[in-house]
């Protein structure tokens, strides 16, 4: 790509619903235990949106926080990209609903879907729009209400996920903040992580509802293997692109799916766990919202400081994976 301009993240924001669902609460819903969930996933609790709250509502709050942090007005936003696997509806896009909510009247808006990798895909797309000079100010959001698509009778999946939203403002900057990005997909393994019904392959019917096909399904151990391998390899691919050694990395912000996956991946990367940001104990797996929420918390808690080189990495259904090497320039 011919790079004409530099891009950087100049603001972050996140929003989590208030309602907390702990492992002990789950013990009353399905046959599971706090001990089982904690040892296998690292998750202790997750946030759950109220019935009348949709992904766009969480996205709007996160977007407002990110705009305030970056000091830009809604009218200055050129583009809104929302990464979500749980849009408000098939159309209009969640991004258009957010546009209305925040009053970003001059923006183009669309959604992208790459499951848990969605935010990395959206960030990489935004990066291209800035670097070619097409846009100057982009709002990128990862927002999910996964609690709406969980089978609360399936103890292998319903314990894992939570609701939330995170947002960043990506702007044309003097200093380069987006050092390299890498994306990958493998549709051959699309069956291992799915939400099969409600699309054109399997439209809504009494049968699909009875069989619980509107809910997330996952082949746990297949996904675990894939996740451990690709987290490490995709981080290395992006590092290779910008010629940065792993030892120069100050911080890793991984997709928050499972602490065992993160630990195994960190071990493969020979990265000590004190350089890895973890918040899945509080929120579980928030799919596309995981990375931007974790990034916002890491920045606001001063775990990430100006000048730090940070790896963002995620994997998810599709199968998809991606990583970005960023320099914190704010």
């Amino acid at each position: 790509m011919n790079k004409l301009f530099s891009a950087g993240i100049t603001g972050t924001g996140s929003f989590l619903p208030e309602k907390v669902l702990t492992n002990h609460d789950l013990e009353k819903i399905v046959d599971t235990s706090d001990e089982w969930i904690t040892t296998r996933t690292g998750i202790k609790s997750r946030r759950i949106a109220d019935d009348q709250i949709a992904s766009s509502d969480l996205a709007t709050k996160a977007a407002e926080a990110a705009m305030e942090d970056a000091g830009i007005h809604p009218e200055e936003v050129d583009l809104i990209i929302v990464a979500t696997a749980t849009p408000d509806m098939a159309f209009p896009s969640t991004a258009c609903i957010v546009q209305k909510n925040i009053g970003a009247v001059n923006a183009a808006a669309f959604d992208i879907e790459a499951a848990c990798t969605g935010f990395l895909y959206a960030l990489t797309m935004g990066e291209q729009f800035i670097k070619t000079g097409f846009y100057k100010n982009i709002l990128i959001i990862g927002a999910e209400t996964l609690s709406k698509v969980l089978n609360w009778k399936d103890r292998n999946t319903c314990i894992l996920f939570g609701d939330g939203a995170g947002a960043v403002i990506l702007q044309r900057t003097e200093e380069e903040g987006m050092l390299a990005s890498y994306l990958g997909s493998d549709g051959r393994n699309s069956d291992s992580l799915t939400l099969p019904a409600g699309g054109s392959r399997m439209p809504i019917s009494y049968k699909t509802i009875d069989e619980g096909l509107h809910c997330i399904r996952m082949e746990g151990s297949e996904v675990f293997k894939f996740a451990v391998r690709t987290m490490g390899s995709s981080a290395l691919k992006a590092l290779e692109k910008c010629n940065i050694a792993l030892e120069e990395i100050d911080f890793l912000v991984p997709h928050q799916a499972n602490s065992r996956i993160i630990e195994a991946a960190a071990k493969r990367l020979k990265l000590p766990m004190d350089k890895v940001y973890i918040n899945l104990d509080k929120y579980g797996n928030m799919s596309a919202a995981s990375v931007p929420v974790a990034l916002d918390e890491a920045v606001k808690s001063n775990a990430i400081k100006k000048g730090d080189k940070v790896v963002l990495v995620a994997f998810g259904g599709g199968l998809t994976w991606g990583s970005s090497i960023i320099k914190w320039i704010k």
């Binding site: 040892t39 296998r40 082949e219 151990s221 675990f224 293997k225 451990v228 391998r229 065992r260």
Partner: protein
């Protein structure tokens, strides 16, 4: 050789230092108290070590360490 390497990998993954009691008949889950994710990590480490692929439905049939060793010897 395969047996010794497999036992070494299991010891590393589970953090077990005394491996003298581990035999071909030893079960990862029943005897060594590995959970399902430990088992997946051990299978992954074995796949990497011997450059073999162990599909999930094969791994599910392994009853003990001897079964893993036999699979690796047959497929490596």
């Amino acid at each position: 050789m395969v047996f010794e390497t497999v036992v070494k990998i299991i010891g590393e993954q589970l953090g077990v230092e005394d491996l003298s009691t581990v035999k071909k008949e030893t079960s990862l889950i029943n005897d060594l108290e590995a959970d399902s994710l430990d088992a997946v990590e051990i299978i992954m480490a074995i796949e990497d070590e011997f450059s073999v692929e162990i599909p999930d439905d094969e791994a599910e049939n392994f009853k003990n360490i001897g079964d893993i060793v036999a699979y690796v010897e047959k497929n490596k």
